[in-house]
């Protein structure tokens, strides 16, 4: 080039047009890099806003307000006949103990309405807690000890600062009198925040202070087990067949196009399919994880098949040829070499498919997994709900205290998703091979 330029009597590398072109190219490169950076920053900002809004609303769901009261385990309430009969102990009215303790603390409160408000400071859950204490240790009867009891949801909201004391009383859910009582309790150091174990061990409840996501977590677990057991083997076998054995013809192409399209079908359509087949034709139980799992398996199959095919295609042809050249049959080549080598990719795809299924709500609405279920499911046929549906249900509930529960449940769900994806990355890194 320089030879040529010199022959032409000048240096082309120094010419004005060349320098202009160079400047233009560098400018364009800078511009492109800046745009890319901007796009990533925007995405990160939005993610940060999302996470901040969820965490700032939801972190309080992991603590719960407790009220400490001096409970007198009065014999005339618990065991009037003095028999210590377990049936008697179980059916006693323990609420009465709480009420007595509150009356004692606030002797001035009179009138049915005020008393009811006063008793509302403590959750209905106190009943169960006291009963269990007595059943475990009948010696308690006749004694007076301080007991930390779950507070009502309104008290919880006041304690966490979600209720604005400056509002006019009529616009406020918690009235002046209640605030006054709470101030007394607070001053005595009887109101405390504790870690909310109930959130992780309780099923759903109409009362926010008692509501937990254990039921939904167990439901999600059962559902995903079914999804995995069905979708993984079928998906992997399909992928192997299509990649290694199927003749390359119009029919295979058609199947391939359809699988790719299925991956893009809205999930609610799979819900309708599940409703039509599993509930209406096969008469399987409604709201059950087994049906949810089957429906989600239908939805996850295309994802797994596509990921598995990509992983299988990524195995170098030389390995296939090496095996066939040694006199391995196609099946031996596929199962001895290609499948093990593509397994990390297949597993990654499967986990991503499953985490998609874990976050899926719409198809489960169609098969009745949206019902209010307070019990923690004990098996695949028990009525259950799953985490995203639980979030949906709580988001729909009017009580102020469900707002933090909703965000808290979202955080738990996101935690599981991050765990699953981290596991996928771990598998990929661990089993990745270089050729």
């Amino acid at each position: 080039m320089t030879d040529q330029a010199q022959k032409e009597g000048g240096n082309a590398w120094q010419s004005e047009a060349f320098l202009k072109n160079l400047k233009k190219r560098k400018r364009s490169e800078r511009r492109f890099r800046l745009t890319g950076l901007l796009a990533i920053l925007t995405a990160l900002t939005l993610l940060a806003i999302l996470l901040f809004s969820i965490v700032s609303k939801g972190y309080t769901a992991f603590v719960q307000t407790f009220v400490t009261l001096d409970i007198t385990f009065a014999e005339e309430v618990i065991d009037p006949n003095g028999t210590l009969d377990p049936a008697e102990l179980r059916s006693a009215n323990y609420n009465k103990l709480v009420q007595n303790a509150l009356r004692e603390k606030f002797p001035d409160v009179k009138g049915r309405r005020d008393l009811r408000r006063l008793f509302g400071l403590v959750s209905g859950d106190a009943n169960t807690k006291l009963r269990k204490m007595v059943e475990n240790d009948p010696e308690l009867i006749g004694k007076t000890i301080p007991v930390s009891l779950l507070a009502g949801d309104d008290v919880d909201m006041v304690k966490k600062g979600y209720i604005d004391r400056n509002l006019v009383e009529d616009d406020r859910r918690v009235k002046d009198k209640e605030l006054a009582w709470l101030d007394v309790l607070e001053a005595d150091g009887d109101i405390k925040l504790h870690f909310n174990t109930g959130f992780f061990t309780n099923g759903d409840s109409r009362e926010p202070e008692k509501a937990g996501i254990a039921g939904a977590m167990v439901g999600s677990f059962y559902t995903l087990v079914i999804t995995m057991v069905i979708a993984f083997p079928i998906g992997v076998m399909t992928a192997i067949y299509l990649e290694e054995f199927a003749a390359k013809n119009k029919l295979t192409d058609l199947i391939e196009v359809n699988i790719n399209n299925l991956a893009a079908v809205p999930s609610i359509v799979f819900g309708l399919l599940g409703l039509a087949i599993f509930l209406n034709v096969a008469h399987m139980p409604r709201s059950a994880p087994v049906v949810g799992g089957l429906t989600l398996a239908l939805m996850t199959l295309p994802t797994i098949i596509i990921a598995a095919r990509a992983a299988i295609r990524a195995v170098p042809d030389s390995i296939r040829q090496a095996a066939l050249g040694l006199g391995a049959s196609k099946q031996q080549a596929a199962f001895h070499h290609i499948l093990p080598l593509s397994m990390p990719g297949i597993l990654t795809g499967t986990i991503i498919g499953l985490s998609q299924a874990l976050g899926e709500t719409a198809p489960l609405l169609m098969i009745g997994m949206v019902a209010f279920i307070a019990d923690i499911p004990g098996g695949f046929n028990d009525p259950a709900t799953v985490m995203p549906v639980q979030i949906f249900l709580w988001a729909d509930s009017p009580e102020r205290a469900f707002v933090e529960k909703t965000s808290g449940a979202i955080m738990v769900l996101l935690g599981f998703l991050i765990l699953m994806n981290a596991f996928a990355i771990f598998l990929r890194k661990k089993f990745e091979r270089r050729w």
Binding site: A322, G325, G327, A328, H336, H337
Partner: protein
């Protein structure tokens, strides 16, 4: 398997250079592409036959007909007759999987399995059930590695990965792997094209030793290599065989003008 003749036993003197493979009028089509046109060629027992020719002349295609590897290519059609010890390998009674055990293959790029050196060599005997027990298998693996001239380099690390070897060692591992299933014929598709000169020299030396017990057909782009290691040479051009014969004769006094042009470097 019908084509498994008693050949191994009687060929002990190994001076028997009779015809082992005879191809008559072989045509190969990849879809509409007529890749091989009426190729007829005889391959002699216990000799090295090299297939030379410019790129795309059909020599690899021909090689892959002999162990029916072309069957695995979509849209590939083979006509004509390929007789191995008098039996048509495209005949209805021939199982192509067993055929590939008898006709081993070494590929252009070393392609060991991403397993241990031991498992690489043991894979063939395992799937064909050639070893009765663990000791048998050890024996086969060690002999194969020895025949491939690799044993000294790998005997302390039989259980480390085969992909951790150098390119030349990997290629000899692939040869050992092919030897482990006791083939009669070994097809080599440019086995040295990815190797440096020293590794190439080792593989060539190995080929020279192996021809005592095996029939070797080798595709090569290097005419020097063909001249060094082979006894017979076939020159392919545009899907046809132009000239075949004794290597020395073909390189010194080719009868065809195109052969002359190719070996003197005028084209190709």
């Amino acid at each position: 398997m019908q084509i498994q003749a008693e050949e191994n036993v009687e060929s002990h003197p190994n001076t028997d250079h009779g015809v082992i493979i005879s191809t008559r009028d072989v045509n190969v089509y990849y879809g509409d592409n007529h890749a091989l046109q009426g190729v007829s060629l005889n391959i002699n027992k216990h000799q090295v036959t090299s297939l030379i020719g410019p790129s795309g002349c059909g020599k690899s295609t021909y090689l892959r007909c002999i162990n029916r590897m072309n069957d695995t290519v979509d849209g590939c059609r083979v006509t004509g007759e390929i007789l191995l010890d008098g039996v048509d390998i495209y005949g209805p009674d021939v199982d192509e999987v067993l055929l590939r055990a008898r006709v081993g293959m070494v590929f252009q790029k070393p392609n060991p399995f991403p397993k241990s050196i031991y498992d690489n060599v043991a894979y063939g005997p395992r799937i064909h059930g050639l070893a009765q027990n663990k000791d048998d298998l050890d024996e086969i693996v060690l002999t194969s590695l020895e025949k491939a001239g690799l044993i000294k380099e790998v005997q302390d690390r039989l259980h480390s990965s085969g992909t951790g070897l150098s390119g030349g060692q990997q290629q000899r591992l692939c040869i050992a792997r092919a030897l482990a299933v006791r083939p009669d014929i070994i097809l080599m598709d440019e086995p040295c094209s990815a190797l440096d000169p020293i590794a190439t020299a080792k593989v060539e030396e190995l080929i020279d030793e192996l021809k005592e017990n095996y029939t070797i057909i080798i595709v090569t782009h290097s005419m020097q290599q063909a001249a060094r290691i082979s006894q017979q040479t076939a020159f392919f051009h545009l899907g046809e065989i132009v000239e075949t014969g004794n290597t020395e004769k073909l390189f010194t006094s080719p009868s065809d003008e195109r052969t002359q042009g190719y070996i003197t470097g005028r084209f190709g």
